[in-house]
């Protein structure tokens, strides 16, 4: 088996989420199943490859969604691509969220910006077996209301009885009726049972950092805080060295880590 060779996947649909974020619905030539939180390497043929986390439900077997922010070389080219065009994917790689360890607990999800991508997959994973969790809380923060991804899905989620949803924007506009302020302010809006809860955080580095600090301040235990780490990656399979985070390779030992595992590594937030 050659781990560097992608399989072909056709773009079935392109959904514009915001001005610089699109969701691509991919149909791989071969079946692709993953655990939520695992990632894949996506090749834009002739351009390059980059790691992304599927944003679709892990229960879905023949399609996989990736939600991608346009930030540089590969992502800009990808944003130009249309329905029916062909990309490559390989994976899934790494260790995802340990859902079984969360059964019976209160699950607090803290997301920022495009960091909602893996969290959507995680959330859909949870909702797929919602009875197994005591409570599900979703906190999401973005810069402006425009920047919210999955807008129509959020409307459904906000009506879902299994789910408590809190949202905030750094800068509100006239229509915004929810919270204004950085994402951590949402954490003051409710209480969770610290003895029986987990928190799952994903977003830009600065948000991950302050989100984690705030959770610690509120009494969450480092071993119950799950972080998805973003590091430079190339091979995705623990060989090329790029993603090293202290003694870990993020691609192989992560990308999901508990804060407890990595809190003493000096370069985690950089």
């Amino acid at each position: 088996m050659n781990p560097y060779l992608p399989v072909k996947a056709q773009i079935e649909e392109v959904i514009e989420e915001t001005s610089n974020i699109k969701t691509f619905v991919l149909k791989p030539e071969e079946g692709f199943s993953f655990a939520t939180g695992q990632f894949l390497e996506l090749t834009v043929p002739g351009v390059g490859e980059a790691p992304f986390t599927p944003s679709s439900s892990p229960h879905e077997k023949d399609k996989v969604d990736v939600t991608i922010m346009k930030v540089g070389g590969v992502t800009s080219e990808l944003h130009q691509m249309k329905k029916k065009e062909v990309v490559g994917i390989r994976g899934p790689y790494g260790k995802g969220y340990p859902l079984d360890k969360m059964y019976g607990k209160e699950v607090l999800i803290l997301g920022g910006g495009v960091g909602m991508a893996p969290l959507r997959s995680f959330l859909l994973g949870l909702l797929g077996e919602a009875d197994k969790f005591k409570r599900i809380i979703l906190c999401y923060g973005v810069k402006t209301p425009e920047d919210i991804v999955y807008k129509s899905e959020f409307r459904k989620w906000m009506k879902n009885k299994k789910l408590e949803v809190y949202r905030t924007v750094d800068k509100a506009d006239k229509g915004w009726k929810e919270t204004e302020g950085v994402v951590t302010v949402l954490l003051d809006k409710f209480e969770v049972d610290l003895e029986n809860s987990v928190a799952v955080v994903c977003g830009p580095p600065i948000m991950m950092k302050f989100g984690t600090f705030k959770l610690i301040e509120l009494g969450h235990k480092p071993e119950n805080i799950y972080l998805s780490m973003e590091k430079n990656m190339s091979c995705g399979v623990g060989k090329c060295g790029h993603c090293a985070l202290g003694r870990f390779f993020v691609c192989k030992d992560g990308p999901v880590f508990t804060y407890d595992m990595i809190k003493d590594i000096p370069e985690i937030w950089d």
Binding site: P3, Y4, P6, P45, G238
Partner: protein
């Protein structure tokens, strides 16, 4: 597998053996070239010119098993002939053990590395003349190989003592029917004396350096040390240290695939190149954030990678003390000085 056969072979017969090998294998061996000793492909024409330098070459055995640039998208095609590499040193072999952990260990095996590794036969030779930058002795190594080879050579007088280190090595001697005799005590004693001399020379060369009680602790607790910045003053970020290193494994995958609008017209092609944690872009992520922006951060990472991270996650010391990086450094940074400077007693 430990095979303990040791033979004595006259030089003339050894040469005949090599000639015979040419029929079955691709042979690579050191020749003396204008720029120094270099590995070259051997034919009947240059067979006579093979030399056995008393110390490692600039190029390590890694080059032949994990080449600087390689296409990794085709199914691994077997090399036509197995390759025999002559004259590698103990430190080369140790480095391969480290590379094995990375490329062959874990859940996914690197099929390209595996193919080259399995189709390469390693004939090592002792180091009667350790160099001024060699320090394998300070890292638990010695100037002669004790394992990891198929055959090992120790030249004494008009002949060579050949240690058989593997089944492959044994078969090779048998198949090519080299005239040989079991090594006698007296010859082994001469070899022991030679080896001891090399060890003494290494000790003398490195007497100024000390890495503390336990090599496992050499960088421990020194993350904030001013030593990194001090040595980074002369670093020019050329990456020579990692490129010359026999145990550095890092690479970058690049994409040369053919795009297409139909499934059938897309063809994937991936090329990998050696990469270096000393280069600026190595850890850069989208948006420009970079955990190792400064030269000193990157310099420090190399030491932590080799002496702390690799030992704790792969159970290997990712430095063999070959000293190549000392020779290659444009900024005259000596890894032995850096490690010694970290020790509190100095």
């Amino acid at each position: 597998m430990v095979i303990k056969d040791i033979y004595y072979i006259e030089k003339e017969n050894w040469q005949k053996f090599l000639e015979s090998l040419l029929r079955e294998y691709e042979l690579v061996a050191p020749l003396e070239e204008p720029g120094g000793f270099e590995y070259r492909s051997i034919t009947l024409e240059n067979l006579e010119r093979i030399v056995y330098p008393g110390v490692r070459l600039a190029q390590s055995a890694k080059f032949f098993i994990y080449p600087p640039q390689e296409t990794v998208s085709q199914e691994e095609s077997l090399p036509q002939k197995k390759k025999v590499i002559l004259g590698v040193k103990a430190c080369d072999l140790k480095a391969l053990v480290a590379l094995d952990e990375i490329f062959l260990g874990g859940d996914l095996v690197d099929p390209f590395y595996k193919t080259w590794r399995e189709n390469t036969i390693l004939i090592s030779s002792d180091c009667p003349q350790p160099g001024e930058t060699c320090f394998c002795n300070l890292l638990g190594g010695s100037p002669f190989a004790e394992s990891g080879f198929d055959l090992n050579l120790s030249f004494i007088g008009d002949g060579v003592l050949v240690d058989v280190g593997s089944e492959k090595g044994k078969e090779m001697l048998e198949k090519h029917n080299v005239s040989r005799q079991p090594a006698e005590e007296a010859r082994l004693r001469i070899r022991d004396a030679d080896r001891k001399q090399s060890v003494e020379k290494l000790k003398e060369t490195n007497k100024e350096f000390s890495f503390g009680e336990n090599i496992a602790d050499v960088v421990k607790g020194h993350y904030e040390s001013p030593v990194w910045q001090k040595f980074a003053e002369t670093c020019v970020g050329c990456c020579a240290c990692t490129n010359i290193c026999p145990s550095c494994h890092c690479f970058l995958l690049t994409d040369l695939s053919t795009p297409g609008s139909k499934l059938s017209s897309v063809e994937f092609k991936k090329l990998r190149y050696w990469d270096s944690c000393q280069s600026t872009g190595y850890t850069r992520v989208a948006g420009g954030a970079n955990p190792r922006k400064k030269l000193a951060d990157r310099l420090k990472n190399r030491y932590y990678c080799k002496f702390e991270y690799k030992p704790s996650s792969f159970n290997i010391l990712a430095c063999t003390g070959c000293g190549r990086c000392v020779d290659a450094c444009q900024g005259k940074i000596d890894i032995r000085e850096v490690l010694s400077a970290l020790q509190p007693t100095r």
